[in-house]
Subunit: 226 residues, 2 copies
């Protein structure tokens, strides 16, 4: 493989994906479905955050969830189903990310039921999912305290793409070398505008800020022509 050939392949893949993402975004807007793309490392707590978030807002919104796994014998959608939300499990067949085409395929049926909010639990990976626009209304990144405060420097694209960065497992902060001020400085060097929400999905500490952020974004999105 020479590097020039790789770059050309990637450019063509990205252009194709961007067009499909815009098409899906428009379809979702027409149906009134707000799509939140949730990205993180493996084990940062995506399912726990989503479960608590759904339970916090399910009386106000009709909710669906699509969970992507590269393979997976664990059916995380059982956990989600217990919240009462519509749950879709998508196996990516080894792919390390979701692209817009895969997202559109996975959502094809559920969109016709017009949920207010669809949560997309992307593949656990801080690298590749950042490169592919899924067609989402907003991008959320979850970083957990045990992963360390330097991650915006090591995985810059992921943090650049975030509309909100959730710092999870704050209940464990005394156990790890994680400085929230240092983290914020690193993050701000890459992303001046995103919301930063430290919380614990386990204890509920700080979680109301995430609920408020989401409600506000959904309202903004409904009112504006995005």
């Amino acid at each position: 493989m020479d590097s020039v050939r790789i770059i050309k392949l990637k450019e063509s893949v990205f252009a194709d994906n961007d067009a499909k993402a815009e098409e899906l975004r428009q379809k979702l807007k027409d149906k009134g479905c707000f799509l939140l793309n949730v990205m993180s490392s493996p084990g940062s707590g995506k399912t726990t955050v989503l479960t608590r978030l759904i339970n916090s807002i399910k009386d106000d919104y009709k909710i669906a969830v699509m969970e992507a796994d590269i393979d997976g014998d664990i059916d995380a959608s059982d956990i989600i189903k217990n919240t009462g939300a519509e749950a879709i499990q998508l196996h990516t067949g080894g792919m390390c990310h979701l692209d817009a085409g895969m997202t559109a395929t996975g959502l094809a049926e559920v969109v016709d039921e017009k949920p207010d909010i669809i949560f997309l639990e992307n593949v656990g990976n801080l690298v590749c999912p950042a490169e592919f626009d899924t067609g989402a209304s907003r991008n959320a990144v979850i970083l957990s305290v045990p992963e360390g405060d330097d991650k915006p420097l090591k995985y810059p694209l992921m943090f650049e793409k975030a509309d909100v960065v959730i710092v999870n497992k704050m209940d464990a902060i005394s156990f790890f070398d994680f400085d929230l001020g240092v983290f914020e400085n690193y993050l701000r060097a890459r992303n001046k505008d995103c919301q930063i929400i430290p919380l614990s999905a386990k204890t509920g500490e700080g979680f109301n800020l995430l609920v408020d952020w989401l409600k506000s974004e959904v309202t903004d999105w409904r009112e504006k022509d995005e």
Copy 2:
């Protein structure tokens, strides 16, 4: 993108990579350099494990380290350099994994100095690095306790490729829902033969087992025609 086209591209890339990996493996064998490919999620403690490991064995072996980052303003190689080992920093230009060609390019100069052991700190990612043979003598996977005991089910290929699985941050196990027995069952369903070493790179608990494993593997590799 239709899926058939993707698969064909991937197959050709993998075949090309496999040939380059074998070529590098032979070159390393000729020079007497044992290459350990270290893979994990972001934030599982690769650098901390490597630093303690190098300090434990540096009187017995000549050591070099190549660290791969997709970008990176943090120069982790400074931490490694403090151990006295030769340190190489490789920026992958956004790529989510190392392939054999990138590894060979990065190691070209250092191999001529004939280190006994080269540690390859791969990109923090539990998905893509598993797909590309780097030409390493052995593959190590680090999983940290806060990531959860279900990871062999969610990221099966990574755990299938491992010769050793290091369970790091064992000092924090009382803080998280991580059951070592459950983890071992999930792992064994995917990989019957790999060594499992629970330890804490922070406290040193269990670390002697990793040192013993590495020394034994280097001896085996030297004696056998691999």
